[in-house]
């Protein structure tokens, strides 16, 4: 029985090559790991090992040398004898041994390599550089990291490639490495206490980390599997985890607030048949947005089912809400007048609104309570629009007249500007002639008398133009 001391992969390779050449069986060798400091002092490339044997040793599959280089970095003390035993088997009739991953030795080697590879990967991921406040022109970055295995030299070239234009050092308990923008220099291990302990950027990084976390999907076990707790001490963001978890329920609630209800639109209340009668009945029960709660009733469109012209307003007002018919209040009177001037019979057209419920704010006035009209928001317009679309589909008009900006934006998109595009004939998905004009209520609200007259005239002109 021989005892062999090895510290590094190169030691092992030299010894193994010698033993193999003299036919020493694995059972006759005892491998003893030494101080195990740096593994690859003047490490030649793995292929050099194949050529260095002066032809006395049988050739070894390249895959094995690569595997051995990784396994050599594992902390498990049995690795040297396992490697030699495998080498022996490979060269004594089991050349394909490495393919047989169910073999105990191979399996164990693979597990060890997996451990080392994973550790290298984690080093690439979890090294956190901190910028030194040197005041010099060159930025200097230092990281402290604790790998499980002796992988510094396997991982360092990655950092050289990635951070080529930076001065950096990575310190680990076993070994350290520095990059001066040209080459890598290895040195002794360094305790964590000697590494810089802060970086101004960490605050921003933590802010990012906290915000990108989705509190509606807490999966702590999955996180810990990928980011083992033993690495947390060197990860600045890990200090946030407890708080984030604690705040998660409240934040998830806030998310619901911003999202709530959007799944629901009038589409959920659509009747099977799309005729106006069925639509009107169904719309009476619509609860797709909160407006139905305070309003008296749904005010659905009215008029000829075969109308050539459909007029679309914004939403019912106070009178309309009480009576249940569109355009019956003061604005309706004005509209009737304008229609008459334009030579259009009200009973020939179909009149409806983008939003079918009255939206208001109740206010105290000296003459008692009053319901003040409020503009519908786009949430309500969106929720209600399926009714309008169904009405248009049922009627198939040749002309659509949008009364006011809200109606026009619902049909043309929100960048439609009524002041600019009033009266222009446009094409929409619903018909070829679609125009927008003033809402009668807007005319009534206009303080400036001459302007009001002008708007009235324009309303009549616009209606006449599509007659």
């Amino acid at each position: 029985m021989q005892s062999i001391h090895v510290d590094t992969f190169d030691d092992w390779r030299d010894a193994a090559r010698r033993l193999l050449a003299s036919g020493v069986s694995p059972t006759d060798v005892q491998w003893i790991g030494g101080a195990e400091r740096s593994l690859f002092d003047d490490a030649p490339s793995p292929t050099a090992a194949e050529h260095g044997g002066r032809g006395t040793t049988p050739s070894v599959p390249k895959a094995f040398l690569e595997l051995a280089r990784y396994v050599a970095c594992h902390r498990e003390s049995g690795r040297w004898s396992l490697l030699y035993r495998t080498l022996w088997r490979l060269t004594h009739g089991e050349r394909h041994l490495l393919q047989v991953t169910t073999d105990d030795d191979v399996h164990q080697l693979m597990q060890m390599r997996k451990g080392v590879s994973r550790d290298i990967h984690k080093m690439k991921a979890f090294v956190r550089f901190r910028k030194l406040e040197t005041g010099g022109a060159e930025e200097q970055f230092v990281a402290w990291h604790r790998p499980d295995h002796r992988i510094v030299r396997l991982a360092a070239p990655f950092f050289a490639r990635r951070f080529g234009g930076m001065h950096w050092s990575i310190l680990t308990p076993d070994e350290s490495v520095t990059w001066d923008q040209t080459s890598l220099h290895y040195g002794p291990g360094v305790p964590a206490s000697e590494a810089p302990n802060q970086d101004a950027l960490e605050d921003l990084w933590k802010a990012y980390y906290a915000s990108i976390f989705n509190p509606a999907r807490v999966k702590v076990a999955a996180m810990k599997r990928e980011m083992p707790v033993r690495h947390w001490p060197t990860l600045p963001e890990a200090t946030l985890i407890d708080d984030l978890l604690r705040q998660a329920p409240a934040r998830a609630d806030a998310m619901i607030q911003t999202n709530e209800g959007f799944a629901e639109t009038a589409a959920h209340f659509m009747p099977e048949r799309g005729d106006l009668v069925s639509l009107r009945l169904a719309a009476a029960n619509c609860r797709a947005c909160p407006l139905h709660q305070c309003a008296t009733q749904t005010v659905f469109g009215e008029g000829s089912p075969s109308a050539r012209i459909v007029l679309v307003g914004e939403q019912p007002g106070d009178r309309e809400d009480i009576q249940g018919h569109p355009f019956v209040g003061p604005a309706g009177k004005l509209l009737d007048e304008a229609l008459k001037h334009a030579g259009i019979e009200r009973r020939e057209v179909y009149i409806t609104n983008v939003v079918k419920h009255f939206k208001f704010k109740e206010t105290e006035t000296p003459r008692g309570k009053r319901r003040l009209h409020q503009k519908p928001d786009s949430r309500e317009i969106y929720a209600c629009r399926p009714w309008l679309e169904a009405e248009l589909a049922a009627i198939g008009p040749q002309v659509i007249v949008c009364l006011g900006a809200t109606a026009a934006q619902a049909l043309f998109g929100r960048d439609f500007a009524i002041t600019k595009d009033r009266g222009n004939v446009m094409r929409t998905d619903w018909c070829d002639i679609t125009i927008a004009t003033w809402h009668p209520a807007a005319i009534l609200r206009m303080q400036d008398a001459s302007r009001q007259t002008q708007m009235r005239t324009q309303l009549v002109e616009d209606l006449t133009s599509v007659k």
Partner: protein, 417 residues
């Protein structure tokens, strides 16, 4: 608003985006001094939602002129708003990257002013990173809907990956929830990128050195569950995108509509698990030779939530089994539940030298609890007797639901089954 506050708002707004991978570019841009891309991406951190942080994933702004109903940035949402300058994003990316916090940048944006204007801003960020900072790390830009083709092409010069969001599985869904977005336009943009990629490849083959164009290809994201479109349609759309547009990835993002107060727990099993099942099915389509329509076996055209799609397929196709691990072809082995592609490769290797018994299968760490009902091994495998029993589904089903959610968290990375 300072950068920190903006970061808080604009990262928060990006947290719904499912894309995370930073892989695909195998070589680093020549001439860069900071940053590399090496084929396999690195997850630099994990958040308590179990998802990885590999990219600085932010929006340039979350203001938006559109009103897509599934999106928190829609104009009608009352979410807090912010906007980064181009320089702020460039500097954040560089500073984070130099500290090894991230693998690169994933930048998208709400639409401000016009689509083209917004797209130009995204391009400005990427261009500045490449030319002024000599940054060689990963950049993924999400193209802006309706941006002009020339701008998308320019973006591809600076970015490693472009994504054009398909948004919703069908044209009808788009019409309902995002009327400003049109399927032909979206697919046109994808086709434009695909053509440019193909062109670049052809030039490379012919020996020219064309400028790099999205070396990591293109991907897309689909919101699932905002409408009642069934999984089979989702997967058909995905398969089409893979074959017609040559996409690298389709990301699925489960939408959790919360219409009633009693469903006030978002992210509960149904949407998350559905997302997970879609990733698994997607994987089967891309790597296992399955077809979208055969994977979805349920009458309602949806994937089963309680078992994975391969197991579901196997239960519905028992005549296909048992498969002999020592004789079956690669394609046949790939269809066995619990045996993944990597293990199929190992099995094929090993059996050239020796035959495999059930003990070997366990050593390979196949999911023996599922696989055992479907395979012949060199030794006696008593579990096979269950193959034509009625209660096989109950027997083969994973025991705990917990495990399922555990998997679901990481399934965007791979849906391997």
């Amino acid at each position: 608003m300072d950068v920190r506050d903006k970061l808080t708002v604009l990262a928060d707004a990006a947290k719904y985006d499912a894309s995370c991978a930073s892989s695909g570019s195998k070589t680093t841009r020549p001439g860069s001094t900071i940053g590399s891309t090496e084929g396999m991406g690195i997850c630099h951190s994990y958040t308590p939602d179990g998802r990885c942080v590999s990219l600085l994933k932010i929006l340039l702004t979350n203001y938006c002129i559109y009103d897509c109903q599934y999106c928190v940035n829609r104009i009608s949402s009352d979410t807090p708003r912010a906007r980064f300058t181009v320089d702020e994003v460039v500097s954040l990316t560089m500073e984070f990257y130099k500290r090894n916090y991230i693998e690169g940048l994933f930048l998208s944006s709400g639409i401000i002013q016009t689509s083209d204007y917004t797209m130009e801003q995204l391009i400005a960020v990427a261009k500045k990173l490449r030319t002024e900072q000599r940054y060689g790390g990963y950049i993924h830009l999400k193209t802006i809907p309706n941006a002009s083709q020339s701008l998308i092409e320019e973006a591809g010069l600076w970015a490693d990956r472009l994504s054009v969001n398909i948004e919703l599985p069908t044209e009808g869904d788009l019409y309902k929830l995002a009327p400003e977005k049109k399927k032909p336009q979206i697919e046109g943009a994808m086709a434009g990128i695909r053509n440019k990629i193909d062109e670049t490849k052809q030039e490379q083959k012919a020996g020219f050195k064309p400028p790099r164009f999205t070396p990591a290809g293109q991907s897309t994201q689909m919101i699932v569950g905002a409408t009642d479109t069934p999984d089979v349609e989702v997967l058909k759309t995905a398969s089409q995108l893979y074959s017609l547009q040559n996409l690298r990835r389709v990301y699925y993002s489960a939408y959790s509509p919360i219409p009633h107060a009693d469903a006030r727990l978002p992210g509960q099993s149904p949407p998350l698990v559905r997302e997970h099942r879609l990733y698994q099915a997607d994987w089967l389509i891309r790597f296992y030779g399955f077809d979208a329509s055969e994977i979805v076996a349920e009458a309602d055209q949806n994937l089963s939530l309680d078992i994975d799609p391969k197991l579901a397929w196997s239960l519905a196709n028992r005549h296909y089994f048992p498969v002999d691990v020592n004789k079956a072809s690669r394609e046949e082995l790939l269809r066995v539940p619990g045996i993944g592609a990597r293990n199929v490769k190992r099995i094929l290797n090993i059996r050239r030298f020796q035959s495999l018994a059930s003990g070997d299968m366990k050593k390979l760490r196949v999911a023996w609890n599922r696989a055992k009902f479907f395979v012949l091994t060199a030794d006696h495998n008593p579990a096979l007797l269950n193959l034509d029993k009625l209660d096989l589904r109950a027997k083969a089903k994973p025991k705990t639901k917990q495990l399922l959610l555990f998997d679901a968290a990481s399934s965007a990375l791979s849906g391997e089954v």
